[in-house]
């Protein structure tokens, strides 16, 4: 019996995380977690790792405090977000716009010609052209990057954040100016995520109700289009641990799954993967392994002075208001110190892969249309890091499901210029999701036929109409669980805070009052609070 099997046997017996799972499944999951993926997978007839990837194994990044932990800044996933576009010149078409944006980086233009304002910038892989583009992008941020791909430390994250990327060119008589910025996502620790998976939505609702009485804090759940609540990821935009792993495989390692396509290399559009790179059974085994990872724990020495300091620190934590969002227990997730809700953290904590718009009401509606009309397409998005914004095309025709025939049409046509500024809030407060579509067999007595006074074949599209409450979705973040905190530096979503003090001081938005109360506390109380936080360690 090898040590890995023993380890998995122990994990299988850990009562607090996974449900009963066979040690063999955990062993497979553990092997997969640490497996170094290679390009080409003959067993599945697929391309294996890549073509674009951030790491060759899960364990490469998830390593602090043991396998499954968080990662240093050097493993940060990177993206480039377009803040604004200004194009001077007349007669701009969608195709020309796409061509111009492609000069900046072709990855912003997605397969069907739509343009997103965020591009995940994979650390490794791709064609030579893709690598050159990657290097050019990182160079202009002035930050130093490690061989792993991310900024070498928190200070370099900050430099990257503070360095705007400006693309300015005259293209075929059009004066093009694009301003963008590098964003990053720090690797989250996975310890205890099996417990998070088991936190029911009603507990999140309960926290929302509690916070509605609070003068400063107003968390809200991450409402996913399908009606579920998200609980995983910095934006809480993934509902389950299985989906989180599924998407991580595709996004971080280029391992296509049955549900999630691997990242395309925009410099090699003709390329396509012949098959998926990882089986459902393997994703399931990975999920079982991650779910079985033990929850973080507390480490307190027996030194009485330290104990007193930690006790006082916890009292200060509660007194100044940290505990309003960093809720100690969420059902089975004891000691999580998170409410799993989204909070506005202020304008300095921005990333253009925004949080899911806040859906506050859902109704079902039918829309009967000529059957020859195309059904509404799904809005382009990169859900793993959070949705991106689809650029308005320079045509008046509605292009996505958000604009139904009875909705006001947004026109971005302007005779001499095209302007885009990345929105800070949802632009439409009503959205639609196509949930069913069926042909109407009655071609004579239907609403379109009556309107046109002739027989027409129609289709009835069933939509979910979602009413959205505007929020500053670029700066909304899930309250990060504090368990395991000591072993998960750097802090904040992009790892810009090297220390806990920096991290607390960076709290803004809803948390500004709490931050100020912390800073108004005595020096000793502040130090005690930090001492308390440092007792939250990896298992």
């Amino acid at each position: 019996m090898n040590s890995r099997f023993l380890c998995c046997l122990v994990l299988a017996m850990v009562p607090v995380t996974a449900s009963a799972v066979a040690p063999n499944a955990l062993l497979l999951g553990s092997q997969l977690f640490e497996h170094e993926w290679q390009s080409q997978n003959p067993a599945l007839g697929s391309d294996g790792l890549g073509p674009l990837f951030n790491a060759t194994s899960c364990a490469t990044c998830h390593r602090q405090g043991g396998v499954g932990g968080g990662g240093e800044a050097e493993f940060n996933a990177k993206s480039i977000g377009i803040e604004s576009i200004k194009i001077q010149g007349s007669g701009l078409t969608s195709a020309r716009l796409a061509e111009m944006i492609s000069r900046f980086h072709p990855g912003f233009v997605i397969a069907e010609g739509s343009i997103l304002n965020v591009l995940p910038l994979a650390h490794h892989g791709g064609t030579d052209v893709a690598r050159k583009l990657h290097d050019a992008m990182t160079l202009v941020t002035s930050a130093d990057y490690s061989e792993s791909g991310g900024p070498i430390d928190a200070s370099e994250v900050r430099i990257a954040n503070a360095s705007p990327i400006v693309f300015e060119q005259n293209i075929d008589g059009y004066q093009v100016r694009i301003t963008a910025r590098m964003y990053g996502r720090n690797t989250t620790a996975l310890f205890g995520s099996g417990l998070i998976d088991r936190v029911p939505d009603k507990l999140l609702d309960r926290q929302v109700r509690i916070q509605q009485q609070h003068p400063e804090i107003s968390g809200r759940p991450s409402t996913l289009p399908d009606g579920r609540y998200g609980k995983f990821g910095w934006r809480a935009n993934v509902a389950s641990l299985f989906e989180f792993n599924d998407q991580a495989c595709a996004n971080e390692m280029g391992l296509q799954t049955r549900r999630k396509k691997q990242s395309d290399d925009a410099t090699n559009r003709a390329y396509s993967n012949a098959s998926f790179d990882i089986t459902d059974g393997q994703v399931e085994a990975l999920t079982q392994f991650v779910a079985a990872l033990p929850a973080p724990t507390r480490y307190v020495t027996h030194d009485q002075a330290h104990l007193a300091s930690v006790r006082n620190g916890e009292a200060v934590f509660n007194r100044v208001g940290c505990a309003v969002c960093h809720v100690r227990d969420m059902g089975v997730a004891k000691g999580i110190y998170s409410d799993l809700l989204l909070h506005d953290m202020g304008s300095e904590s921005i990333d253009l892969n925004h949080a899911e718009p806040y859906v506050v009401r859902r109704t079902i509606m039918d829309n009967e249309v000529d059957s020859t009309y195309a059904a509404g397409s799904v809005v382009g998005r990169t859900p793993y890091y959070g949705p991106a914004t689809l650029l308005p095309l320079p045509v008046a025709k509605p292009t996505n499901i958000d604009v139904l025939p009875d909705s006001p049409v947004r026109s971005y046509r302007s005779p001499n210029s095209f302007d885009f500024v990345s929105p800070s809030q949802p632009e439409t407060l009503v959205s639609f999701r196509l949930i069913d579509s069926a042909l109407n067999p009655d071609t004579e007595n239907n609403s379109v036929a009556r309107q046109r006074s002739r027989s027409v074949a129609t289709r009835i599209d069933r939509y979910e109409r979602m009413e959205i409450e505007p929020t500053n979705f670029n700066q909304e973040w899930r309250t990060p669980p504090l368990w395991g905190l000591r072993d998960s530096a750097p802090y904040m979503h992009d790892g810009r805070a090297e220390t806990l003090l920096e991290s607390i001081a960076m709290h803004d938005g809803e948390a500004a009052g709490t931050r100020d109360r912390f800073l108004s506390s005595s020096y000793e109380d502040r130090q005690d609070l930090i001492a308390f936080l440092e007792t939250l360690v990896a298992p």
Binding site: R158, N161, R496, E498, Y523, Q527
Partner: protein
């Protein structure tokens, strides 16, 4: 590696060995008597060459000013806002770091402005602290902003020993020990600060004054050289520091300055700045540079310390000067500005072009004042004089910094002329009085 660094290392090794061998021996804490002395004290001659002085400088108001009158200074028992955490850190230093042959003396220098210079009120401002380690001649070895932990204090003592050793090895080549300190500190910095440190080292090497730099043995001249370099250096580092804290702590507005003051109680906040500036400051006489140093770090005016055994008699020279002017003559006192403010952009209220053409600009104010006797005063001189003459308290900082005090006569109350107020009214008043 200095004696203390060696000792610390040896002690750690011994500690590990003891725990590995599971001998069950308890470490016996040596009784350490920390020697607290009054500010600027003469140190005992014994083992002076090996002595270190740890000076805790805070913005507490010295007890000599506390009662609203000039009094003889007290001993080391000054009030100190960070007394508890500092003493906790001191008590946490491994006892092996203290030897009778290399004594460590402790001093607390409270340099906060007294109520007579803050409008009669106790200023509600966060506590501030700077720790400087010097040798027995008060030559600066190490600098630290904020309250150190026991580990930081131990490291500071070890670093101070290293600095002293390098200083002694390079008596005739001060730039060499500057580089040695810089090499050590470089390892503790982020890339941007390393780059700044290297830039400053290059600038120092290229400076035409470098060849004429004072030798470390000529402490007075060496200190003067440091003082000349210190202002421009601090002004350059300030820009990077503000950018650094803006990014590290999310400080984006001027109103966030108060948060920065609080954050500076924590050592990590100004650590990169401190590590960068220390190589260029080491060796200077703390007694000569502490006012500049503290005013630069805090960007606030502070109170100079009286010398041990004397009260504020030295300040009577101001009284004599005023009495010599006669009772009916107008005069002005120019308040010494903090070094960084002196060098940096003045925060003067804007004056319109029309007002300037009419003779109501800031230069016109200087010209008008120069028509009367004018004398530069220190905060200490001013406070002592105000108290002796039962004057009303002045606020030197609010609503904006007072640059001059104008007196219609020595019997009159002072009229403060502030940076934040356009000078037209003051000029009109001064000219009327001077007629």
């Amino acid at each position: 590696m200095g004696n203390r660094s060696c000792h610390l290392l040896l002690q750690r090794v011994a500690g590990v060995l003891l725990s590995v061998m599971s001998l069950g021996l308890c470490q016996v804490a040596l009784a350490v008597e920390h020697q607290w002395l009054p500010p600027l004290s003469e140190l005992p001659d014994e083992n002076l060459d090996h002595a270190l002085v740890v000076v805790l400088i805070t913005n507490d108001v010295a007890t000599e000013w506390a009662e609203g009158k000039v009094s003889r200074r007290t001993s080391a028992g000054e009030l100190c806002w960070c007394r508890s955490p500092f003493l906790k850190a001191v008590s946490g230093i491994p006892s092996g770091l203290f030897h009778s042959s290399a004594p460590v003396y402790w001093q607390h220098w409270p340099v906060g402005l007294p109520p007579i210079l803050t409008g009669g009120e106790k200023v509600i401002e966060p506590g501030r602290a700077v720790v400087v380690v010097t040798d027995g001649d008060y030559r600066i070895l190490e600098l630290f902003v904020g309250i150190p932990s026991d580990e930081e204090l131990s490291r500071l003592l070890g670093d101070a020993e290293d600095t002293r050793r390098w200083m002694r090895q390079n008596v005739t080549q001060p730039s060499d020990f500057t580089k040695q300190i810089a090499d050590r500190n470089r390892e503790r910095m982020s890339r941007l600060w390393k780059r700044e440190l290297d830039r400053q080292l290059i600038a120092m090497g290229e400076s035409p004054d470098q060849d004429d730099a004072g030798l470390i043995e000529d402490n007075e001249r060496f200190t003067e050289d440091v003082k000349v370099r210190f202002g421009p250096l601090a002004a350059q580092l300030q820009t990077l520091y503000l950018k650094d804290v803006q990014l590290r702590f999310g400080l984006t507005q001027l109103s966030d300055f108060e948060r920065l003051i609080v954050l500076e109680q924590h050592s990590a906040t100004r650590m990169p700045w401190t590590l960068t500036i220390t190589p260029f400051l080491a060796g200077a006489d703390l007694k000569s540079v502490y006012l500049d140093l503290i005013e630069i770090v805090w960007d606030r005016q502070v109170m100079s310390l009286g010398h041990p055994g004397e009260d504020s008699k030295g300040d009577e020279s101001l009284g004599k000067w005023i009495s010599q002017l006669g009772e009916q003559h107008p005069f002005a006192l120019e308040i010494r500005l903090p070094l960084l403010s002196e060098r940096g952009e003045m925060q003067l209220a804007p004056v319109s072009a029309i007002a300037r053409r009419r003779g109501f600009g800031w230069k016109d104010l200087d010209a008008a004042l120069s028509e009367s006797p004018i004398r530069q005063v220190t905060n200490r001189e001013l406070a002592a004089w105000l108290l002796r003459h039962n004057e009303r308290p002045l606020d030197l900082s609010r609503p904006s910094r007072a640059r001059y005090l104008f007196f219609r006569s020595s019997k009159d109350h002072p009229y403060p002329i502030r940076d934040g107020e356009p000078p037209a009214r003051s000029i009109t008043m001064i000219r009327q009085v001077q007629k």
